[in-house]
């Protein structure tokens, strides 16, 4: 009964005219920033942050939240159509979404992923409502050791799912960790690996890194592909081609629900969150699928499961932010900041002191998700039409938006230089067949991982066994160690495979 009363209170708050208006504004801005490569939700949230000083706290959070999950809906459009992830979380969506688009099934991929995201989001909101306090209690038991073990597990799992060599993926995770350590050290304030460059003290910009390694390298690769393969067939994209087949629907529910489950669980963990959720759900789909060889070549499950995982993780990600005061991502940091500016400290006391805020925001998420699906499905034809713009006009436009986006993030050409640097790295990585997604994962999780490692060692008085003495952490450590034989096995079998001259002849 308590829950029902809270839902009523939440609906009452969320359905007020001004809250509805800012919810709509938020999801529209979010969608736009997701679609336009180079401006992510983080930039949009940061830019609109000063505006929230003039809004009531609930409305402010409703709008910023709308940008956050609206960008998820928009970002997958560029991931599927252009192979450019608007955010790191869409890196996985590129793996199968883009091949689907190349096969002329872009409409299907967009439609199914929008529905998956909506169902994932709904599942996430339901959990946020019903089990919010319970799940928060569970996460409350987590100490530094547990976070470290969880992140380690997530990184190793993520490396095993990327295409090609596992060793190369692991190498890229560690390279990402190293890039992540650039900047001021949080414990001692010592600048690390800045080489006297002032701009580097605030660490490498995630936008510059992602846009360089993905955006620029993709543009370079696409121009080359166009020269070699010729143009993509545009005929099968629009109209009735957007209708999913019976087989697609049969695959829809199981993989969407699996994705929602993975996403809901991982979204709660600060640091793990949406990014690991998309990777893990992709890995899970590949594992349970009867046709794993289709993954990476346009499997619909590879789009639906990560999308529903992202949708649910985006929602459950608010649990630690709102109930524990631990933001799970940079965007969440800004949202928590918006509350603190208003004199409200996000934390365990929030739900009791400001029930209208918590429940109003939660209910507005549902309304926002419904708005998004309404904005999305009828306009799929419009998004698909973007593909018909010739690539020789599109790629200068992509580059311009990448540059402008990086420039406005800090109003300094430095991040544009960083894009050029990471663009060179991205091209070399493509040539060397080094995967980019694990690098991004390592880069994003690195600082938090180091923080938790150092804290765990401090609390455990320098004894490495601290990771095995606590039950939850021990489970994750054992799961990670259990993956090692699998990694060795697949690395060895890969060497065997490429050694066989017959298979090389087939590949080349």
């Amino acid at each position: 009964m308590d829950t029902l009363a809270n839902v009523a209170l939440g609906l009452e708050t969320a359905l007020s005219f001004s809250n509805l208006f800012y919810c709509f504004a938020g999801v529209c801005v979010g969608m736009l920033t997701g679609i336009i490569p180079g401006i992510g939700p983080l930039t949009a949230i940061a830019v609109l942050f000063p505006l929230t000083f003039y809004l009531p706290p609930t409305t402010a959070l409703i709008m910023l939240g709308g940008i956050w999950y609206g960008a998820g809906y928009g970002g997958r459009i560029t991931a599927i159509l252009l192979n450019i992830p608007g955010e790191p979380i869409h890196a996985v969506m590129c793996q199968d979404g883009y091949p689907l688009a190349r096969q002329g099934r872009a409409g299907v991929a967009l439609m199914l992923s929008a529905l998956s995201a909506f169902i994932g989001g709904s599942v996430g909101i339901l959990l946020l409502m019903l089990f919010g306090p319970v799940v928060a209690d569970f996460a409350l038991q987590f100490g530094a050791a547990e976070y470290f073990a969880l992140m380690l597990f997530g990184m190793v799992v993520a490396s095993t799912i990327s295409q090609g060599s596992i060793i190369k993926a692991l190498a890229m995770v560690t390279l990402g960790l190293m890039f992540g350590s650039v900047g001021i050290d949080i414990y001692t304030g010592v600048p690390r690996f800045t080489f006297g460059v002032a701009e580097l003290t605030k660490s490498i910009s995630l936008v510059a890194l992602a846009m360089g390694i993905y955006g620029v390298a993709e543009v370079v690769a696409s121009i080359r592909q166009e020269e070699e393969i010729g143009k993509i067939d545009m005929k099968g994209v629009g109209g009735t081609a957007a209708r999913p087949t019976k087989q697609d629907w049969k695959r829809f529910w199981p993989s969407t629900l699996r994705g929602s489950a993975v996403g809901s669980f991982l979204g709660v963990m600060p640091g793990a969150g949406t990014l690991v959720a998309t990777f893990m759900s992709y890995a899970l789909e590949k594992r349970v699928s009867k046709t794993p060889q289709q993954f990476g070549k346009g499997a619909v499950e590879g789009v639906m499961a990560p999308e529903s995982a992202a949708g649910s993780a985006e929602m459950t990600g608010f649990i630690p932010t709102l109930t524990l005061g631990i933001p799970s991502s940079p965007s969440m940091v800004l949202m928590a900041g918006a509350l603190i500016v208003q004199g409200i400290t996000p934390g365990p006391a929030l739900m009791g002191q400001h029930p209208d805020l918590f429940w109003g925001v939660v209910m507005s998420f549902w309304i926002g998700n419904i708005m998004l699906i309404v904005l999305n499905i009828p306009f799929i034809g419009l998004w698909v039409r973007m593909l018909q713009i010739p690539y020789h006009f599109l790629f200068p436009a992509i580059l311009v938006f990448i540059c402008v986006g990086a420039f406005v993030e800090s109003f300094s050409p430095f991040d544009v230089w960083m894009i050029a640097f990471f663009g060179v790295l991205g091209c070399i990585m493509r040539w060397a067949e080094l995967p980019a997604a694990p690098l991004l994962l390592g880069f994003v999780l690195g600082p938090q991982m180091e923080d938790n490692f150092r804290r765990a060692m401090l609390l455990g008085s320098g004894d490495m066994m601290v990771f095995f003495q606590r039950p939850i952490s021990c489970v994750f450590m054992i799961l990670t160690i259990a993956l090692v034989p699998f990694i060795i096995w697949s690395a060895v079998s890969e060497v065997r495979r490429t050694r066989d001259p017959a298979s090389v002849a087939v590949n080349s």
């Binding site: 190293m178 050290d185 544009v416 091209c427």
Partner: protein, 149 residues
């Protein structure tokens, strides 16, 4: 076809050399500390040592595997990266519009399919879009055109 996978040998060597240097630099400059009170250099150094190991594995697998020679063409990446660099150089002193035009024109040299008329239209459209989104939409006070002299 070559009988050694030189690409993997080169990649592995580059990664392990970078990892080794990074680990050394990290320990030498930021300190290892103790396990209880970990120094600033330990975590990056640990990651770098792992990278060195993975690099050696990639390198050694390159000696036993074979792969087709993959070519690395230079023109496309050169012009694409040059357009980014041009934007970075121009945007501060001259403003957004010249930077956008330079970026568009330079990058279009990468595949030479666009005609002059098309490019002119593209430049105008892009400048207009950027003005609408960033100046009017987001209200950022970035100069569109600047004359520094």
């Amino acid at each position: 076809m070559s009988d050694r996978n030189f690409r993997d040998i080169f990649t592995g060597a580059a990664l392990s050399i970078f990892g080794f240097w990074f680990a050394w630099y990290s320990i030498a400059n930021y300190g290892r500390g103790t396990l209880e009170k970990i120094g600033n250099g330990l975590f990056p150094a640990a990651a770098a040592i792992l990278l060195t190991l993975f690099g050696i594995l990639i390198l050694s697998s390159g000696f036993v595997t074979t792969a087709a020679k993959s070519e690395f063409r230079i023109r496309v990446p050169f012009f694409v990266l040059a357009s980014v660099v041009a934007f970075a150089l121009i945007v501060r002193p001259f403003g957004l519009v010249p930077a956008i035009i330079a970026c568009t024109l330079l990058s279009s040299l990468a595949d030479l399919k666009a005609r002059l008329v098309g490019l002119t239209v593209l430049c105008v459209v892009l400048c207009g879009l950027v003005y609408l989104i960033f100046r009017l939409g987001l209200g950022l006070l970035i100069p569109m055109i600047n004359w520094p002299f």
